[in-house]
Subunit: 246 residues, 2 copies
DNA sequence: CATAAAGTATCACGTTACGTTAGAGTCAAA
DNA sequence: TTTGACTCTAACGTAACGTGATACTTTATG
């Protein structure tokens, strides 16, 4: 299928398909000698996933990460889609209820507080991002794991020891406030060590801390060094990332 | 209520509130001497409307037009909100069904065509725009009516006569194809006459033609000159607006 | 086969709706 | 009084296309 056919079938623009190709989000399986994009059935299946995540409010960059994640599984994604759609339907029922209450309020039949006006309406940041991260991990983490996998045994051992040392140090500091000098010094070491493996911006670093508590696998692993360490690190990493810029 | 309180209550950013004030979409009822915005309960009610239309995919510019339309009525808007929410809920049920079918397809239990993958998903342009236009009219039309109302009686009479003449001419041409030379010449006159009253871009002109058939009031009025004239004009105006640019 | 219209490509500026950062002023609580 | 939170304006940046232009390709028809 060429661009117009796909665009018409799906209800998006040709420009959108061009754009998705450009950014590597949906690359057609084939391109003719004259440069025409040919989309396969597989491309269409992927497009469905893309459009669904987009509908849920995910930025394209994030969608790309998700569907290209090693652990991404189409079947699992569809299960999530179904769950979320059901959740949204329930939310819609709540919204209908709120609007109905507002109508009654306008007719003077009931009282209504300002808070009630917005019940069921959720304008905050994409609430489904957490869900996706839990299922498909974080690309930065995945890349780090990849880098470590490609290290020599000696290098791996050296890093493992550094990891161990820092975890132990942090475990011994976890009774301190996350923003204390000692905690922050240890976190700085942690930040620098991670940046030896793979580039982490402060923002990524902070998000990683959040993953430590959100993802049971990380929490379990880290809390071996001391109960509550994952939570402590999460907070300390946020402080570190949020410190005033120099 | 000041910006942070409103932002936290509703789940939007302070920046958004600033932006809405800047573009005149939501202007706080009060501003302190130090320049602080103070939002009233009435402002919150308007914000609810704004956020709802925004959730439905309306551009802010359009939302502004709607809520500032002379015929905008909050009660009516809430009724529409309720209708649309119910529609969306039904659509969600369809989407759930489609996803479930996709899951079965993936498990090899059923066959599925490409078209079926996207059933219930609607990625086209805002489908609720028509609904809103029907209820709250078109700002350009409203402004034209306003201009005419402020004309002297002589001017009004002169324009009425010009309107009449063009309608009659077009009525006599409606058996021709909308893109015929004669039809297009008459439509050009119509375009120029309207632009004497109020500025119409080609895009607006085309949208106005659509209003002639969508809005019963216009259809009735125009079809007095000849059955099907509104439809004919709609098509001819679209041709005129879409003609190659010179 | 020739032609015209529809389809397709790339390029690049424009649009919309904020997000983000910076620097300065204001408010409220301790 | 001090400090931290809040608020303001200004302005650049970002994401995701929309739009218009120009040139090449494909398809259907006479």
């Amino acid at each position: 299928m060429r661009v117009k056919e796909v665009a018409d079938l799906v209800g998006i623009s040709v420009r959108t398909l061009h754009h998705y190709d450009e950014i590597g989000l949906l690359v057609p399986d084939q391109v003719t000698e004259s440069g025409y994009r040919i989309y396969s059935d597989e491309n269409l299946a992927t497009l469905q996933q893309i459009l669904f995540f987009k509908e849920l409010g995910f930025p394209l960059k994030k969608i790309k990460e998700i569907i290209q994640s090693p652990s991404f599984d189409q079947y699992e994604a569809l299960q999530l889609h179904r769950e979320i759609l059901i959740k949204k339907r329930d939310q819609l029922n709540q919204m209908i209820h709120t609007v109905e209450k507002t109508i009654l309020h306008l007719k003077g039949e009931i009282e209504m507080a300002n808070e009630e006006r917005f019940e069921g309406f959720d304008f905050r940041k994409n609430p489904y991002e957490e869900e996706a991260r839990k299922r498909w991990g974080d690309q930065t983490v995945d890349r780090s794991n990849e880098v470590i996998r490609n290290m020599s045994k000696e290098e791996q051992k050296a890093f493992a020891q550094s990891f161990d040392a820092i975890y132990r140090n942090l475990a011994s500091l976890r009774h301190l406030p996350p923003d204390s000098e000692k905690a922050q010094a240890a976190i700085k070491e942690w930040y620098e060590l991670l940046n030896k493996i793979n580039y982490y911006s402060l923002e990524m670093f902070k998000a990683l801390g959040q993953i430590y508590v959100d993802d049971q696998r990380f929490t379990k692993n880290i809390d071996q060094y001391g109960e509550g360490l994952a939570q402590f690190m999460c907070e300390a990493m946020a402080v570190f990332a949020d410190q005033p810029k120099k």
